[in-house]
Symmetry: D2
Subunit: 343 residues, 4 copies
């Protein structure tokens, strides 16, 4: 049984584990003030191309989202998010638990644009309603689509003009930036969004997300918020060493490229077999619509999620590849699919 269920089924890239081993008995400072964390932050700043940004290493996506958003907003301010947004449905009300409303916008492709946001602003006019203040987007989105540079520029401009913060959830940012369709650079993010994070957990780390805060008003006292929410790890080295290993050369991007290539093999074969996709995803999550009997056959040897019903005979499934996905497993999946289809 091989799993295409998600991108966190395996542990960490071996180089990361080796680095943990090699540095294990060094006595170093705790709580993110160790030399490895400082160096990782330094390198990330170079990669992003700005020195005037703050970077904090956190343990997971929900944790990062909830700490960042609650630190950035005042009590009456709200978040705008697409109805597919992770914070809206898959984080057990983590944002609301910090006191903030999420205003949901119905979208078909997971992506927000300026007119979506404008609609929200137009309907929130006085103190009997929350004050929309932060726009939450993710790249790739929950359903695999990615933002192109002009799209992000448009949102960014709109947010600046309307005094809104723009926050990008980058749990799978590597896959977005390494997608064939992508025309955004990591350094673009440093100017187009107010804060974003670079996901490690889903791209080769044991755990870890690097939160980047690009504008001054959001930086102040951020470590207080981390500590208050239980996110300051005593052995902060665990995060620092991982991000250092991922970014001291191009490992992070190489791993994301691999995940995308594996997805590409699957996408091409499924496409060639004549199936459509629920949504056009250029990243490491695919949502092909397959015949139920094919799904049943494939499930004998592969695990993956059935996403939604298409009609009585067909369903959309979710196939996820990762840095650890083996090419032979992908090829075997394709062969098995063909075998069932007799093509």
């Amino acid at each position: 049984m091989y799993s295409f269920k998600n991108d966190y089924s395996e542990g960490a890239h071996p180089r990361i584990l080796n680095s943990l081993l090699e540095t294990n008995f060094e006595q170093i400072d705790g709580y993110g003030e160790d030399s490895y964390t400082l160096k990782a932050v330094e390198i990330l700043k170079q990669r992003i191309g700005r020195n005037d940004i703050d970077i904090h290493l956190l343990a997971g996506g929900t944790q990062t989202n909830l700490i960042a958003i609650s630190a950035f907003l005042r009590p009456h301010e709200a978040v705008i998010a697409a109805n597919t947004g992770h914070i809206l449905v898959h984080e057990t009300g983590a944002i609301e638990a910090t006191g903030h409303k999420i205003i949901s916008i119905e979208v078909s492709d997971g992506k927000l644009n300026d007119s979506h946001i404008k609609t929200v602003l137009d309907s929130h006019t006085d103190e009997h309603m929350v004050k929309p203040k932060l726009v939450y987007i993710s790249n790739p989105t929950e359903i695999g689509s990615i933002y192109h540079k002009d799209e992000l520029e448009q949102i960014s401009r709109f947010c600046k003009e309307n005094d809104l913060f723009l926050f990008m959830d980058g749990a799978r940012l590597g896959s977005a930036l390494c997608s064939d369709e992508n025309n955004l650079k990591l350094s673009d993010l440093g100017t187009l969004v107010d804060a974003f994070y670079i996901g490690g957990t889903k791209n080769g780390a044991l755990l870890g997300e690097a939160l980047v805060i690009c504008v001054d008003p959001l930086k102040e006292d951020f470590r207080f918020h981390m500590k208050q929410k239980g996110a300051l790890l005593a052995k902060g080295r665990l995060l620092g060493i991982q991000f250092l290993e991922l970014f001291k050369d191009d490992l992070y991007f190489d791993l994301a490229k691999h995940a995308n290539q594996m997805a590409g093999l699957l996408r091409d074969a499924i496409d060639k077999a004549g199936f459509r996709f629920l949504i056009d995803s250029p990243s490491n999550q695919l949502f092909p619509i397959l015949p139920n009997r094919l799904i049943t056959e494939l499930q004998k040897d592969y695990s993956f999620y059935v996403w939604s019903k298409a009609d009585d005979d067909n369903s959309a499934v979710r196939l996820v590849t990762s840095w650890a996905t083996k090419e032979e497993a992908v090829l075997a999946f394709i062969e098995d699919m063909k075998k069932v289809l007799k093509i």
Copy 2:
């Protein structure tokens, strides 16, 4: 420069890192539903001697305290804690941030007793005040003292009689249970407190605390609270593998014993040199009162915290030993001390 600053200066016990390496490419479920976590929980239940308890693995002490306490209480209910309690001073208001007041009690040795708690109950009489509902203790306390069995039994009885929950912070529980003075067993905790945690971070793990919930009313839906506060790690295996390694044999206790033995060497030597201690601590934190000039000399080769001023010429310092403390470093420290003192 050798550090006696804390018990999280090094990485993890090598067996833990090895286990992470060996299991690295297994594809397993996320969010704490993997086989390693399940097995670790199983073994912990055996160790505690009860099957009807719930165990959850979390990343750190502040995280564990804030999730447990906010899950256990209704909005108007408050925590009773000693004025030295970690939640009161060193967690950036994490408990208050979840909406709950901490009622502080002035104590000299870090420990609560039933008459302390009674005083609080007697002065909280109606709905214009919070309702005291949970007693927070830590073992060892913030200042190294430990609870003896009769002391814990007394508090436990009082809490049951007064419908209070009793919660024990066990960030350094290993050191308490392995102390020479200790007469509590891990299995006693399963009946004497309503919930407690077994600290991993400060006893050989990279990160991790095992929260044990002993009574039914506190168990319900606990994983919702974990997820909502950002504490459900995608790669939950990271916690499961560590606790499995620590408890599949006696590694956890062996590591704590080592820390205590190293503290013992220091305690005996300091005592023999004629110095007193701020508080009598039988665990891995010592608070000797030393001449300032001795402190200055020792700081050239050893790092540790100066805790408080005793008088113009003397200060209390904090020396912490751990699973990783090297005996030769301890002996060197003792020799250096003698050298300065010319004894």
Copy 3:
């Protein structure tokens, strides 16, 4: 200029002010423990026909909603509400500010039914999502529609079967219960919902809502929650005296009937003039769709809200009547409408 903008434009019914005057210099207990409040509660219990309910007097609707809901739920539990629900859009995120998500359901007539709720339950399956626990409805709804007995029985049954609390916002409950279409009695509410409130502010009181808690698990310590949220008035007599006056005879219902009769006059005249309504409302809020030029003319002498655009030439407006609406003002409005329409 006469106002049909809302039902809180005037002060209080004169009997209420007289009662405040007559009792003014009596020295009585504060914080809702005075004899007037106790008597008002007693009478309300008789009206509802149950002695085993708890009743608390609060100052306003948002205050009542936020205290009740946050007292009833645990941190991870969520509210289900229609997309038109007052708590969802017009209370500045008051519920979210207490930490709870509101799950919104798109409805056309402001009313929820069991299949709406079932859809939510079916899509909330594990701890990565909030746990739906309380169903919020209002009667009348934000847009004037009311629940019939069989509809409420259906929801009530579904909630009981699925372990959900059912809470009814009754800011305008008088108007619902006195509507010609209504077949619910005040006493039905005591068995069909778990908690509800009887709105005073919009039916003749200066301020005040009577929250009725019908089931034991929701009653405990409720006054703590009131105090904690700043809702325990020192001079609780102000609320007690008003509810006593409203309910010691049929004043409350007489006032609501008057409001409905005034709405009836408007409804009939508008209907006869050939205009449709955005929604069929049998209560004291009407949403007729009128030609823009008629609206412009009427606005010269009457104030009311333009609710939404219907098409280029017509808009829906909101006309609200109240206990204080003068029949001559209503008749004048109708005459002025006819004059503009030349009918």
Copy 4:
């Protein structure tokens, strides 16, 4: 039985009730945007002598404290208060429920000074602790003492130098400002504190506190916070009319003077009878230490709180006078005291 238990035993000053009656049928805007509220705010600004301040009318003291403090602080910021502070003990954890820690300082006379505050700042040094940001004082304090101008200037200066907000709870501000010992003017508060409130509930109003925000950073969006916490009354006129009546001439101060004069009569008589006071209070709350047998006798005809035990034979009691206290009741109390004492 005559009550000296508190200053909210009666309703409102008759002029207030008359004004409510006279304006009752005017149709006016809701939510504090009516002409009476606007005029009351205008007059209050003149009284304080500044036009660049914001004033909001709220329903009660706990409500005002919790909304102001939670609006003024970011999540990790804390309040400094005297251990006798109302927010610390008598508001059911209202401040903590909004997520903020209160750092308590032990004082003997209810008053803070700059060295108290400095101690707190010195011990809060990094992100493992909350960040002290707001100093809460009340004038008079919970135990009747008042701040003199030089004391307040000293605190004010210290707060400005240390980037702390200074907030004054003025639930009984009238009594402080009209005390014989007082040398502060209402206009001084506009420059010495960042925000304060003028208590109406305890000085002749049915309910109501006027929150004054003196500095720009605290003003923004304040009405959002009021609405979110359920404090924006639909019939805001109720508050506006009362404050207009209290401040359109000197009624507010006349009422406070009366309360103080009645306290003065009691103070002199008790003093002359040879009894001491727990604390020297120049305002409308007295804490004389009386023989228990005298207390028992007086309790037959007068109600008041026994505050604390002094020794086996004597106790401190609390006697409160108000705008409504009758001189004949005070004189009768004094006569009855003398009768028991046979003097």
